[in-house]
């Protein structure tokens, strides 16, 4: 799990941001390369569709480029970038005509999603175990989809990005207390929805 860039990387980021603010697209390209995977993963978990996630990540980075002159170096670049991308994703989810909860786009290509070590079907894993893991994945997907966009964002930033409360508050634009409260309700909802799976996790 990643927990944000170290201070050295942060100072590199700030240097790249300064150059980007001066119109240096190559510097911005470096920032994009550095964060595109994490940003895409975050958006993908929010919208659960590859193409939408790709387009929204594009929109997020493009918006960041257009807003670079507003970056005041008061937070890390990646927190600022997450704020933009999270808002883009939440806005998209709100505007979108939602499908019935729990249903997903069948076009999502699962083969393109690299599973983690914990759930990756390794060589020699039995077909039954693979099926169990696929089922677990589906159940988790369905449960996450039932969270509101705001709760989903907070859980993803905490559990996947490993952000601290204040970083999440900065990224989603709310107080630390609200972040903690949203985390509580999101976790309890997931706990309820996945109660029968806990023994298998």
């Amino acid at each position: 799990m990643q927990s944000g860039p170290p201070s050295g990387a942060e100072s590199d980021d700030l240097d790249l941001v300064r150059r980007s603010q001066g119109g240096d697209t190559r510097a911005f390209d470096e920032l994009v390369t550095k964060y595109r995977t994490r940003i895409y993963a975050m958006v993908y978990q929010m919208v659960r569709n590859e193409q939408d996630a790709w387009d929204l990540a594009q929109d997020g980075f493009f918006k960041a480029w257009k807003s670079l002159d507003k970056f005041r170096f008061q937070s890390s670049f990646y927190t600022w970038l997450y704020r933009i991308v999270t808002n883009v994703s939440i806005d998209w989810l709100r505007k979108r005509t939602l499908r019935p909860e729990g249903e997903f786009d069948d076009t999502i290509a699962r083969t393109d999603i690299e599973p983690t070590a914990d759930v990756t079907p390794k060589a020699g894993v039995s077909p039954q175990r693979q099926m169990e893991r696929a089922e677990l994945r589906d159940r988790l997907d369905a449960a996450i989809a039932k969270l509101s966009p705001e709760h989903r964002a907070v859980v993803l930033l905490k559990e996947v990005e490993g952000m601290q409360y204040h970083e999440i508050a900065d990224a989603v634009g709310c107080s630390i207390g609200t972040v903690m409260s949203r985390l509580f309700y999101a976790r309890k909802k997931l706990q309820t929805l996945l109660k029968d799976l806990h023994e298998n996790v």
Partner: protein, 185 residues
């Protein structure tokens, strides 16, 4: 005082000190009838499952992602660059339009005054009368009058006798026939 939800999140993420943790776990066990150890373990498993499931999503076509983004940025630069003079031209045209509108309104105002309001003022019959009044008022008054005041309390009467006041000259306002109903035609 933090809310229950905030303390629950802090408890699960290990941000409570020993005392706070003990108090909160007593609260969980007492009021909510939950086993704190089991609750913590269950939510820890959930967190692990989420991390395992959600992390490491691979982005399709990452190089094309950068290429496409830089294309958009370049396209935007070309669009916004000519926009600046266009914006200045728009601003300029608005100023010109406002100036022309103001000048036209001023001309119309002057024309209206000259054509309609000013002649009416000149033709008003009160004008000659007013001139005489003003001349009379502005001339030095000729004070030759005397007054006598008598007050009879028992009769409940008061008499004010004025003598020597000049009468209004016959020529007063005679120039304006409209104002003298007794004037000869």
């Amino acid at each position: 005082m933090k809310t229950f939800e905030e303390r629950h999140a802090a408890w699960l993420d290990g941000h409570l000190d020993e005392t706070e943790r003990a108090i909160f776990e007593r609260e969980l066990a007492g009021q909510l009838q939950l086993d704190p150890v089991a609750e913590h373990a269950e939510l820890d498993r959930l967190k692990l499952a989420l991390r395992g499931h959600l992390a490491q999503t691979r982005m399709p076509n990452p190089d094309f992602f950068n290429h496409r983004l830089l294309e958009r940025i370049e396209a935007d630069r070309h669009v916004t660059a000519p926009r600046a003079p266009a914006a200045a031209g728009w601003f300029h045209s608005i100023i010109v339009k406002l100036t022309l509108a103001g000048a036209t309104a001023l001309l119309l105002g002057v024309a209206t005054y000259r054509g309609l309001i000013s002649p009416q003022l000149e033709e008003r019959p009160e004008t000659a009368y007013l001139t005489q009044v003003l001349e009379a008022k502005s001339s030095t008054p000729e004070v030759t009058a005397s007054s006598f005041n008598a007050n009879a309390k028992e009769e409940q009467a008061a008499v004010l006798w004025l003598d020597g006041m000049s009468h209004v000259p016959e020529s007063y306002a005679a120039a304006d026939e409209n104002l003298d109903p007794d004037a000869a035609p």
